[in-house]
């Protein structure tokens, strides 16, 4: 791994000023490099893309941050819900219960790849759920599985003083439940309208579109009294990209193609604990920060 990464940097005359690398959490190898691109023979964006592709082929997670951003301590972390903290797409689980799974799945995947507008996709999918009895929502909630490493990660993040948020275009009956389970400080989600014990095929809430997620982060940041550069956003789909590209560190976790191409940090494994390394919550960071 060291040879691969340093080989790429060397090829483009990127000078490595400082390296700290170690094997932690049993078998997790982490390497932080401070590099100087003044004499680089390639644009930074192209270099990042080459590093991403190289890391992806050998299953490495990668984060690239500017010196100023890296030095600045991170205080807020927000997560997308479906596919990031939980294994399921809530709306697809509801669709299963309503017998409209294939129609809904088709719209979801188009939306996640950014091929259709998120709001339109959400409206169409919720409309297909019309008439689903309210108690079936409880069944769906019962089937939700939070990824195994999530609770452990949240405990560590809390211990480090992070404020934790969930920002999702999904629905409050699951988002609030997951939020409670993992100890989230903020939950932003939508609400399915129920009338006479059945879903009406409508929803309320402001968590629609990619900008809504960023606005939610801005609210948390204001609350905590920090800037966006102190925020970390983690997600997998096209509607997460807007926030991922605008916070201090945006992380694509098991990302869809469009996120893979544009997120400055990528985690391709199931293990969200890698995040701790990427956001520098290990002793290695202290060691290199003074050299930037």
């Amino acid at each position: 791994m060291v040879a691969m990464v340093s080989g790429v940097l060397s090829r483009f005359h990127v000078n490595i000023l400082k390296t700290r690398a170690s094997t932690i959490f049993n078998d997790l190898f982490i390497m932080i490099m401070v590099v100087d691109t003044v004499h680089s023979t390639i644009r930074n964006e192209d270099l990042i893309n080459i590093l991403k592709r190289s890391c992806d082929t050998v299953g490495l997670a990668l984060a690239v941050e500017r010196g100023e951003s890296y030095r600045c301590g991170k205080k807020v972390i927000v997560f997308d819900l479906d596919g990031t903290l939980i294994d399921q797409e809530i709306i697809e689980e509801l669709a299963k219960a309503a017998g409209v799974e294939s129609e809904v799945k088709k719209i979801t995947s188009m939306a996640m790849e950014g091929k259709i507008d998120f709001l339109q996709a959400l409206k169409e999918r919720v409309r297909l759920l019309k008439g689903l009895p309210e108690e079936r929502m409880e069944d769906v909630k019962g089937r939700i599985t939070i990824l195994p490493c999530v609770k452990d990660l949240m405990r560590r993040l809390k211990g480090l003083g992070f404020k934790i948020g969930i920002v999702t275009g999904g629905f409050d009956f699951v988002a609030n439940y997951v939020g409670e389970e993992i100890g989230a400080d903020y939950v932003f989600s939508n609400h399915l309208v129920v009338k006479d014990g059945v879903l009406t095929g409508e929803f309320t809430g402001e968590m629609v579109g990619a900008e809504a997620k960023l606005n939610a982060i801005k609210k948390i940041a204001k609350d905590v009294n920090v800037g966006l550069e102190s925020c970390v956003a983690v997600g997998d789909g096209a509607n997460d990209l807007f926030m991922i590209e605008r916070v201090g560190l945006g992380v694509g976790f098991k990302p869809k193609m469009v996120v893979k191409e544009r997120a400055p940090a990528l985690i391709n494994t199931e293990d969200l604990n890698v995040l701790l390394a990427l956001i520098g919550c290990i002793d290695l960071k202290k060691d290199v920060v003074s050299r930037i």
Partner: protein, 86 residues
């Protein structure tokens, strides 16, 4: 069986590409770098590596010879310390 380690230290005038040159030799011998520290002080490059040589201990001498040769070409001094097991 417990893993066996060597610590390798290389030092000399800094220029770009040194880490790539040294670590590629180690990778070619199938050895794994488990810890690493590198810094540049007043233009002097200092690198220390903890290398797991367990997959094939017999490569140690060949790797040492190759690294000494390579480091000499790069203008670096290199030292090996047997670091025992962990």
């Amino acid at each position: 069986m417990a893993d066996k380690y060597v610590v390798i230290i290389a030092i000399g005038p800094d220029r770009s590409g040194l880490i790539a040159e040294i670590t590629s030799v180690i990778a070619d011998f199938g050895c794994n770098i488990e810890d690493m520290d590198q810094v540049v002080m007043h233009g002097i490059f200092i690198l220390s590596l903890l290398v797991n040589i367990s997959p094939d201990v017999s490569v140690l001498e060949k790797m040492r010879t190759k690294l000494q040769y390579r480091c000499h070409e790069l203008g670096l001094e290199v030292t090996f310390y047997y670091a025992g097991t962990k």
